[in-house]
Symmetry: C2
Amino acid sequence: MKKLLFIYIILIGLFVVYVYHYQTNETASNDWEDHELQGSVEETYVMITFQTGIDYWKRALKGFEDAAEVLNVSVEYRGATQYDINEEIMALEQVIARNPAGIAISTMDPEAMNPTINKAVEAGIPVVMFDANAPDSKAYAFIGTDNFEAGATAAHKMAELLDEKGEVGIITHPYQLNHQERTDGFHATIEKKYPEMTVVEIKDGRGDQLISKEVSEELLSEYPNLKGIFASEANGGVGVGKAVIDQNKAGQLHIISFDTDKGTLDLIKEGVISATMAQGTREMGYWSLQFLFHLQHNVVSDVNGETTLPPYVDTGIKIVTEENVDDYYAIE
Amino acid sequence: MKKLLFIYIILIGLFVVYVYHYQTNETASNDWEDHELQGSVEETYVMITFQTGIDYWKRALKGFEDAAEVLNVSVEYRGATQYDINEEIMALEQVIARNPAGIAISTMDPEAMNPTINKAVEAGIPVVMFDANAPDSKAYAFIGTDNFEAGATAAHKMAELLDEKGEVGIITHPYQLNHQERTDGFHATIEKKYPEMTVVEIKDGRGDQLISKEVSEELLSEYPNLKGIFASEANGGVGVGKAVIDQNKAGQLHIISFDTDKGTLDLIKEGVISATMAQGTREMGYWSLQFLFHLQHNVVSDVNGETTLPPYVDTGIKIVTEENVDDYYAIE
């Protein structure tokens, strides 16, 4: 009987602990609900790009997945395998049909894609653009690089490498807005801030490695005192690098390129390219998902109850040189 | 004895439920930890401004508090009660001494404040700037209005009000960068996009209501065909409004102003000011705290383990007219 009483007391004790625990847990659950930054795994957010196979998107997708993990939601990656706008539009149409919790899009052709982007927004699906914007669409925000600023950063780095003196050239892709902006930012910064430096010529490399190599060779023979070349995109940078190697001028002039594909990183390791501009692609993915989540859950509502988001986030630029190049080979 | 057995069984049952519940709760707790967007109420984030008493900051502080609620952390509001940089620096010094979880600062004088801002960063405290930046400081990010874009938005609205035709003037504050940018954005947009519109003159209202009224009166008599005036800040806008009322011209020309203080909103209600530009002050506060939290908890780390944040967030502009003016009186 005493033994029974003992067990009895223990069980009652446990019951009290249970009730107490249950209540604490209730409070926790309430906090959890109050705490609006918590979704469910059934909630699926989709990232859509073109040329889905290229390395460039890996870090953006990683950021998108990182945000999904902290917000406890699911993600999918869709898009056009080729550089084909119709394929990208079709991918978006299919995603809209499944009514996801949100869509982050990088478009290769805003004009062509605007109607489908607007269709998604009109269907009540949160949409943000990242990396390549569709400024005339109804998407709620754009998260990407300020290309003028990125060009200015490249100019400051070039000035540092050249002790603020000497002739420099630019290889760019003049019919694409982001390249124009990078070129303008570089050019304007050299002109305004570095009186002993001159931009001698801007050549069209058409975003192609071979053509960029050819025009770089012209540049090198036309301007024997050239001290530096800025390439506004990765193919151009590799082309400039190959021209410099062919003419045995590696190390004699400074090349600054853009993005962090393997070809560019290899040339940095070899000492041919001095620096490259790494875009905040991971941040693009991370804050895209954060913004979509905030729209889906109406976390930040305005005076009239509408969700309001900052329309533009500049994800910035980091300078990659021999010193930190190894960090960029590994896509964690 | 049967009764005792019954109680026994119930208690064992409850014990089983308890153990089960405890395990579920364990899982939840783990999720909670994984789910990194959850702070503790002991974690205090501080907002610092100048002229702490003015209405302007209320919405920024509301956004800061909203973010604190969803992230489960605490906030404080400090700063200079006057328009006094020494008082603001002292407030920041006092906050640094208490080693808070993060600081969001709007500075009235970046040059004077940079050393103290850098001291906070060097002490390992996350710091972001909002509304009024200190671009040469070591703060991690700036969250505020793109003033050039805001001026452009005002220009588009003016063009809409005037059917894209006619003479317009500008009253601004030419020695303050944000006002220069607003003026440039307005001016450039009218020139580029609206060939039948002309900016006839830009006058200095010195951010003062009376001076702005005087220069507006000059503008009105010098240009009898004037169809619109853009004021780049709130005191100027009220000054323009009073000039127009005095000359019995209310309703005959369109005034576009900036910000949403009571004086401006009242003149919109009276039909004297046609529109004003509302800054995303609440978004500034909300994303400032989000960014500080991300820095404090190292939520988004880069290839080298460093926390990376977008360096700039444009919180955008909304147009306030008679239709939605009531929403802006109430600071929720």
